[in-house]
């Protein structure tokens, strides 16, 4: 394989090496040159600055020297005699005169200095004691002999020592720099002259120095204070410059006292930013002149050389790139030719030798390549032949494989069609003939299916004309026919020639033009259900493989046909089943309607609607037979218009006439397949409404006609037996429904009558009891009056009688009261008077009431009431009545043993039980004792007395509280009557 990057990589290497050699040298030389240019420029600038600084310093020094000279001039008059400087009364003689003359001279000298040197603002003369003797000022009045003491001032001390003293610089008005000059006077320096010198001139000198466009100069004094700067603001803003590097450096240099030349330097400028700074010392002031230029501006001249160098560098680099490329290409070219030759060999082109004439090792290498190519070519040729033979074998095998694969594909395709088309056979057979034609190498393929004595063309594919649906006789004279009849494959090489063997077949063959014919029967369970036929228009018998393949297709056709047959069968069965299920469901619904609904109309409507639907008719009617009028009255209709129903209702349908009449007459189903063919049909409007067929069944009960059911259909025709049977079933259900309805009607009527009677009874009882009580009270009242001897003394005999009257009267009144209570309850007139009560007190009240009775009968009376029973709400009087009744009953019916009363709570309810050791109550009697006027034992009623209303009333009272009263008893083992009461009863329960 040819690697396209390998040549490029070598080429790049050459280029890079050459480039590094040439470009590197170029770059190095440019950088060196630039560096030296930079250094030279810097040096030059600094030299210039230095020169300016020196010049400025010189001018400043000159100025100061001039001032100093002028001031010194004034001291020429100074006497060497110390006393001469003293002016004062202490001095006598000529000395005094001399002194005065000297003083006058000095003053004049001072004035001259003021006139000649505008920079001097003030002059003063200090005597040898440091006292000021004269002061002459430009602005202030002159002072003579102020005697101000300056003996300690540096100006005096220094000058007195014989030196010229320059003070540090100070500002007047914050902006004008001044310096004090002190010079010794006379030979022995006994006197001192001082002068205030304005440094405005220095300021001017500094301002006039031009250093490029951005440069500036400034002066600092001996204390590194800024003295002069072109921008006078700086004097105020930044006086102390001792922190600046250039100032420090200058100061250090000066103190080092070495003779080395002052150097310039790069440092931070006064206004910030890098500057090139040079300086020169000002000897008198002990200060320096600094000249600075911003580095950026100073180096501006370097820009042009840099650009120039860069251009030259880039041009040189470009040229070296070009040269490198050219050179590298020259070196790489033969290698490239070799590489291409090798690539050709690699690609198999062995006929082109590598042509290279370089006369060196590369040419030898090319020769070696060429020799290698020749030997390669020879071995290739032998190899090619072998490969060709092997390829042929492989191609054959491959073709077979492809064929069988295609057949497999076709087979599976057909199976897929079969599975996708379970109901329709056409697509399967079409696919089959198509595949058979193709894979068996036939001109066409036909599938025939037997139909009576013929074979019908069901599927066809191919070039030979074959009208679809054509019927071919199923005879041995055709290839297909014989194949079916003999149930085997028939293969005819030239059908046109087989006139003897296949008379009919050969005729067809000549008509249609086919010759070689192959038929394979479609056999299922040893019966031929069709045949598949392949044809060719020339004599070219089918191979065994093709015959076997066709057999496979035939089998598949059988499967498909069988599938469809089975599917259709299944479908029919399913439909039948569905119909049966629907019938059953309808009947079930009707049955449910009959049993669940007492509304006869809706039941009959349900029946007739289901009957119409299931019988697949269009309308239906159920009639009820009116025995009195001997007519059928329509009771329920379905599928009919209101108009038609009304017309039907108006018609008088008797026994005999119409369909239903006939059915009633014959007591059997009657059907009229076509009403039009029925002469004198009594209901012509039905014909007008479009009904043609009618089926009617009578409704019979115990042999009597009670109605009829008829269905009508708009299509004429007989009704099948299942429909008739179905209608019979509906008729039977209609009978039941009508019967049920009649019975319910009767029961309902009776119930209503009973209810009214019961109410009347209760009302009567309530009224009665009330009416009875009034005279009874009168009877008892008068009896009491008599017994109380109100009407005179009552003899013992009468008294005894009267006592009985009174006792029986009271009994009767109790009976009446009970009846009144019961009747009130029955009539719904008893109203509970709800209030808070204590169950314990209820029990106590009952016990105290019945205690005497119990003790009379020597019965033990026990109570069990927990102390923590909650307070209840209910009708206390009525509850006491209930408990009294139960306890009374227990004592009444118990002859020996005990009666116990228990009260407790359970689930927000009181449970109160009264147990006795009486005779007990049988199971059957437990049901009846709660009914009115009943006691467990009629015999004991006689014995025990009582109304038999107590339990009944008690139960009602408990129920009105929302509670329950019941009995548990075993005969011979006593009874327990219990009742529950909700603890808090807020509403009276509805009467149940």
């Amino acid at each position: 394989m040819r690697n396209p990057t390998s040549g490029g990589r070598l080429f790049r290497k050459y280029v890079v090496v050459l480039l590094v050699l040439v470009g590197g040298v170029l770059m190095a030389s440019s950088l060196v040159e630039l560096y030296f240019a930079y250094r030279e420029t810097q040096d030059a600038i600094l030299r210039v600055e230095r020169a300016k600084a020196v010049a400025a310093a010189a001018r400043i020094e000159q100025f100061l020297k001039e001032v100093e000279l002028q001031v010194r001039e004034t001291t020429r008059t100074a006497s060497d005699d110390p006393d001469a400087s003293q002016v004062g009364p202490a001095k006598l003689g000529f000395r005094q005169g001399l002194g005065a003359a000297l003083a006058e001279q000095r003053e004049l000298d001072f004035l001259r200095v003021l006139r000649n040197v505008p920079d001097v603002g003030e002059l003063s003369h200090l005597d040898l004691a440091g006292k000021e003797q004269l002061r002459v000022s430009r602005l202030d009045p002159d002072v003579v002999g102020s005697q101000e003491d300056f003996s300690r001032a540096p100006k005096f001390v220094e000058a007195r020592a014989g030196k010229t003293y320059w003070s540090p610089v100070y500002l007047k008005n914050e902006s004008e720099p001044y310096v004090t000059l002190a010079v010794p006077g006379g030979k022995y320096a006994v006197e001192v002259t001082t002068a205030e010198v304005s440094l405005g001139a220095v300021q001017k000198i500094v301002s006039q120095i031009e250093v490029g466009t951005d440069g500036y100069a400034y002066v600092v004094d001996s204390r590194d204070q800024l003295v002069a700067h072109p921008d006078s603001r700086m004097l105020r803003l930044r006086r102390d410059l001792s922190a600046l590097a250039q100032v420090k450096s200058a100061r250090a240099e000066r103190s080092a006292t070495t003779a080395s030349a002052p150097v310039a330097m790069v440092a931070d400028g006064l206004g910030g930013g890098q500057v090139l700074a040079a300086h020169a010392a000002i000897a008198p002031l002990g200060g320096f002149v600094f000249v600075e230029r911003p580095a950026a501006a100073a180096y501006a001249p370097l820009r042009a050389p840099i650009i120039r160098s860069a251009v030259i560098f880039v041009l040189g680099l470009g040229l070296s790139v070009l040269a490198s490329i050219l050179l590298a290409r020259r070196m790489v070219a033969p290698i490239r030719v070799l590489q291409e030759g090798a690539a050709r060999i690699g690609a198999g082109k062995l006929d082109q030798p590598i042509e290279l004439r370089t006369g060196d090792e590369i040419e030898a290498l090319a020769e070696s390549f060429n020799r290698m190519t020749a030997s390669l070519r020879e071995s290739y040729e032998g190899l090619e032949q072998k490969v060709e033979a092997r390829t042929r074998e492989l191609a054959d095998a491959n073709r077979e494989l492809t064929e069988s694969l295609e057949q497999q594909t076709a087979t599976s395709e057909i199976l897929r069609v079969i599975s996708q088309s379970p109901t329709d056979i056409e697509p399967v057979l079409d696919a089959l003939v198509k595949s058979a034609t193709r894979f068996c190498g036939a001109y066409d393929a036909v599938i025939f299916l037997p139909e009576g004595d013929s074979l019908r063309v069901t599927a066809h594919h191919g070039v030979i004309p074959q009208p679809a649906g054509l019927l071919v006789p199923l005879v041995r004279g055709t290839v297909a026919g014989r194949s079916v009849l003999e149930q085997r494959a028939i293969h005819v090489a030239d059908l046109q020639a087989e006139v003897q063997d296949f008379p009919e077949g050969s005729v067809f063959a000549r008509q249609l033009g086919h010759r070689t014919t192959l038929s394979v029967p479609l056999v299922r369970e040893s019966a031929a259900i069709g045949v598949i036929q392949l044809r060719r228009t020339e004599v070219n018998p089918f191979s065994d493989k093709q015959i076997a393949l066709l057999q496979t297709f035939a089998d598949q056709a059988v499967i498909a046909i069988e599938n469809v047959r089975l599917f259709k069968e299944l479908q029919e069965r399913t439909q039948e089943l569905t119909r049966s299920v629907e019938e059953l469901r309808a009947l079930g619904e009707v049955g449910q309607a009959v049993s669940s609904s007492l509304d006869i109309e809706s039941v009959l409507t349900s029946i007739v609607s289901h009957a119409v639907e299931l019988s697949q008719t269009d309308a239906g009617t159920i009639y009820e037979f009116d025995e009195a009028a001997q007519v059928f009255v329509p009771r329920a209709n379905y599928g009919m218009t209101e108009e038609l129903i009304e017309t039907l209702r108006q018609s008088r349908i008797g026994i005999g006439g119409s369909g239903i009449g006939q059915a009633a007459a014959t007591r059997a189903a009657v059907q009229i397949p076509d009403l039009e063919s029925q002469p004198n049909y009594p209901l012509p409007f039905m014909l007008e409404a479009g009904y043609r067929a009618l089926l009617a069944v009578p409704l019979l009960r115990e042999g009597r006609v009670i109605g009829g059911l008829s269905v009508r259909r708009k299509a004429a025709g007989a009704f099948p037996q299942p429909i008739v049977d179905l209608l019979q079933t509906f008729a039977t259900q209609s009978v039941i429904a009508i019967q049920n309805a009649r019975l319910f009607r009767e029961i309902d009527e009776k119930s209503r009558q009973l209810e009214v009677a019961s109410k009347h009874k209760s009302q009567f009882l309530a009224n009665m009891s009330h009416e009875l009580r009034t005279p009874m009270n009168a009877v008892l009242g008068y009896t009491d009056l008599i017994l109380d001897n109100i009407f005179g003394h009552v003899p013992e005999a009468i008294r005894d009688t009267l006592e009985r009257v009174k006792a029986n009267g009271h009994h009767l009144l109790g009976l009446i009261n009970d009846v009144l209570d019961l009747s009130k309850i029955e009539a719904g007139q008893l109203v509970l008077s709800l209030g808070d009560y204590s169950m314990g007190e209820v029990v106590n009240a009952a016990v105290s009431a019945v205690e005497s009775l119990a003790s009379e009968k020597k019965l033990a009376l026990k109570t069990t009431v927990p102390a923590d029973l909650p307070s209840g709400r209910g009708d206390e009087r009525r509850i006491t009545q209930v408990l009294l009744n139960l306890a009374g009953n227990a004592i009444k019916f118990t002859d020996d043993g005990q009666v116990s009363i228990q009260a407790r709570t359970s689930d927000a309810a009181f449970v109160v039980s009264v147990s006795d050791t009486g005779p007990g109550i049988s199971e059957a009697d437990q049901q009846t004792i709660f009914e009115e006027f009943r006691q467990a034992d009629s015999s004991s009623t006689r014995k025990q007395g009582g109304t038999g209303l107590g339990l009944s009333i008690s139960r009602r009272i408990v129920e009105l509280h929302g509670g329950r009263l019941w009995v548990e008893s075993t005969p011979g083992h006593g009874s327990t009557f219990s009742f529950t009461l909700p603890i808090r009863v807020e509403h009276q329960a509805e009467r149940t």
């Binding site: 790049r12 003021l114 602005l139 902006s175 470009g318 290409r329």
Partner: protein
Amino acid sequence: MHNFCFRAPRCLWVVVAILLWLPADVGEAQKAPRPFRIGVLNAAWAASHPTVEGLKAGLKELGFVDGRDVTFDIRFTEGKLDTIPAAAEALVKAGVDLIFTSQEAATHAARDATESVPIVFTLVGDPVGAGIVGQLARPGGNVTGVSSLQTELAAKRLEVLKTLTPAVRRVWLIYYSVDLGTTPMVSKALEAAQRLNLEVIPKGVVDAGELKRVLREVRRDDAVLAPEGSNPDLTIAIIEQSLALRVPAVFGTALWIGYGGLISYGPDYYAQGVQAAALVAKILRGARPQDLPVEGAEKIDLAVNLKTADLLGLTVPRKILLRADAFRR
């Protein structure tokens, strides 16, 4: 391979083109700026007032060529003080870059006319006292200039007068009462009078008429300290009266010696103009006036008119002669 061959030269030419174009951009020609316009405002009788001449000379020395770098728009009101404000307004309206004023009235007028155009004043006796600047070192506003040291020199003037005429006992201190800056000067003079054994009588006047009325009271052995200030009429009147009355008078500047004034001690007008030129130059080069401290006049001259001295019968002492910068014979 071929790609590389083509790409390299193309890159190269692009680089070369960029480099060739770069230097052309570096040296961009600078446009010549228009000359600065300096408005001059004073109450002089002519355009060639000494301060203006000094200014021109100073600027020239500092490299500003008249006509090329600077032009002058000179407004002088011929001694009329009431027209100065209008002239100031006119200058501002004319759009001058700087206003150069002389004396208090013009400086006040310029200050009233603009708060933005820089003002450089001259011949202002006491800039702080006159309310023109806040502090000498930090003037504030848009104003700076040269102070003619009227207050500072008050004592020295009395001394000069006393030196020339030792017999004088009483000095009439005449001042233009409109100028606010005279108050400190009067105080300074009164203070110095004691030391010099003189009686100083301050008299504020507004015009020559009032001045003449005041001078009627001048007696023998009296002298006059003539005012410096906005109203030149007063000075002229004092010269006339002093000559007429034979009363010695000391003046603020040598200018008046030429008109017959006896003696003067004070700054030179021309020199003030030169001095102010430096301030003007700084402002024109970008400095802000409020950053430039007010300078005191540098050149203080003593001038004597020997002829007038003769007239007054005075012998000029050696001290004066020695000190004097100028004489008029």
